[in-house]
Amino acid sequence: MSTNERNYPAPVINLETAPFWAAANEGVFLLKRCETCGEVHFYPRAVCPHCLSLKTQWFKASGKASIYSFSVMRRVEIPYVIAYVSLSEGVTVLSNIVDADIDQIAINDKVEVTFRRSESGQFLPVFRPENYAQSIDS
């Protein structure tokens, strides 16, 4: 499928987010939880946006999500699906849906994290239908 996907621009990485991107290169999707208020937030920050505590900790996310909303970008050379997906940990994140029939995607579809190499070589979390692995096996 990746042969007819668009090129992914490299993410801007900074001091606060470097661990997230290092983990992505290992195939791990990290989130941050605040030790003070207990809330998970996204995108990951050094400072909790819910209580401004500095005590935010990385943890490994399940990678399981459902589609909150999406749009197929049509007026480009290679159409692609942008989406907000709601992770089971309670945060909704911007991403792309890959390995899917772009005309069959629907809100609430179950998806799971997978990774794509961006133009710099940095891996990037994206999401694919949860049944994707089974569908290519059968």
Binding site: Y8, S71, R75, V91, N96, L124
Partner: protein, 390 residues
């Protein structure tokens, strides 16, 4: 009983150009400033407060103040995207009523068409923005962000593409009478649905135009207004807000108007049923639909029904909107539609809109601006304005 107002819009001017190949951006700022000052019967030497956003070239307002030869004792360069100019009106009221300035000039100008700006490009407001790494790689564009709001609104409330199309249809009915409008052709619901899909579910005709030009406003206090006369428009209520992704607690079905609207109505001591005319920021059809709901013109989720069957067409429906043709048909200078929203509301309240779209006895109007993106971070601003007899 006549309503009191702490400040008034005394001058308004919309640049007639829609493609400014032969003009610089500073020149456009100065031309709209001259137009609005002339409209108010004032000169640039009367101006002591200047308000502009990031479309003004140079550091803050410094360069434009110098270019136009303004001598200032008050400056405000608040940047909230396309809604900036409504925020400027609100801040000008506070500056004037606290004695910080007496004549406030607000300008907007730009030439994205002449410069060939590619609207599909992902938006990047600057390398230091903390969200960039988590957004730009995924190809967010202005259109697909608003499209995701539309998609979710459809899912939650059953809103349809036909209903969204009615918003464009209404705008086109108005634009046919505006000789400066970029798109003057009247379109039907099926024209909208048959136009190319840009980003599901938004078609080309769900999107606003890209145009050059700009506009300016002059805000004054009661003393100046008395001298200028009955073309002055009262500023009765003001509200602003910023809505964002809230640490990942995302809800795309409402806008910042849900906060800015009630603040403005409360200050004006008015309710949506009092309003004769609305200017609603219309970057996309979905922007109008969500905003009308959030401002309380209909129950949340029923915007689709509300905008259908010509309800927004002047002389036909219950709530005439964007009688200049709006951003969908007339003008969206520098991709920032807030300024023109205020200008058409001023025309309506003065009885100076095109006769075919003028709302009879238009006494109370609302103008609303949205800046940034309803798919991520937005600035919202609401103004409630009154005519001389309000």
């Amino acid at each position: 009983m006549k309503r009191l107002s702490k400040a008034f819009i005394a001058g308004a001017f919309e640049h007639p150009t829609r493609k400014a190949v032969d003009k610089t951006v500073p020149q456009l700022h100065a031309e709209v400033a001259a137009g609005a000052l002339k409209d108010a019967g004032l000169t640039k030497d009367d101006v002591d407060g200047y308000f502009c956003a990031s479309d003004a070239p140079g550091l803050g307002g410094h360069s434009m103040a110098e270019y136009m030869g303004l001598n200032l004792r008050y400056i405000d360069t608040t940047e909230t995207g396309g809604s900036s100019y409504l925020v400027h009106v609100s801040h000008a009221v506070d500056a004037i009523s606290s004695g910080r300035c007496s004549v406030a000039l607000i300008t907007l100008a730009g030439r994205p068409r002449a410069e060939g700006v590619v609207s599909l490009a992902a938006r990047d407001y600057g390398g230091g923005a903390p969200e960039l790494g988590f957004e730009l790689p995924y190809g967010p564009t202005i259109t697909n962000q608003y499209a995701m709001a539309a998609m979710r609104h459809m899912y939650e409330y059953g809103t349809t593409s036909e209903q969204l199309a009615w918003i464009k249809v209404a705008a086109s009915h108005h634009a046919q009478h505006n000789e400066n409008a970029l798109l003057r052709e009247v379109v039907t619901v099926s024209d909208v649905l048959n136009s190319p899909m840009i980003a599901d579910p938004l078609h080309r005709l769900d999107c606003c135009v890209i145009s050059d030009g700009g506009g300016a406003l002059v805000v004054v206090g009661p003393q100046h207004a008395k001298a200028i006369g009955d073309r002055c428009v009262k500023i009765l209520g003001r509200g602003e807000s910023i809505k964002h992704l809230n640490g990942g607690r995302v809800d795309l079905t409402y806008t910042g108007a849900a906060v800015s609207g009630p603040i403005a109505f409360s200050e004006a001591r008015l309710s949506p049923s009092d309003i004769d005319y609305v200017s609603i920021y219309d970057s996309f059809t979905i922007t109008v639909l969500e905003t009308l709901e959030d401002l309380g013109f209909c129950v949340k989720g029923q915007g689709g029904q509300f905008v259908s069957d010509g309800n927004l067409i002047s002389g036909v429906g219950r709530l005439p909107f964007n009688t200049d043709g709006g951003g969908l048909c007339n003008n969206h200078p520098n991709n920032r539609g807030g300024m023109t929203k205020v200008i058409e509301a001023v025309r309506q309240l003065r009885g100076e809109a095109h006769p075919r779209v003028q709302v009879p006895d238009c006494l109370l109007a609302l103008a609303h601006g949205t800046g940034g993106s309803i798919g991520t971070r937005m600035g919202s601003a609401t103004l409630i304005l009154g005519g001389n007899n309000a």
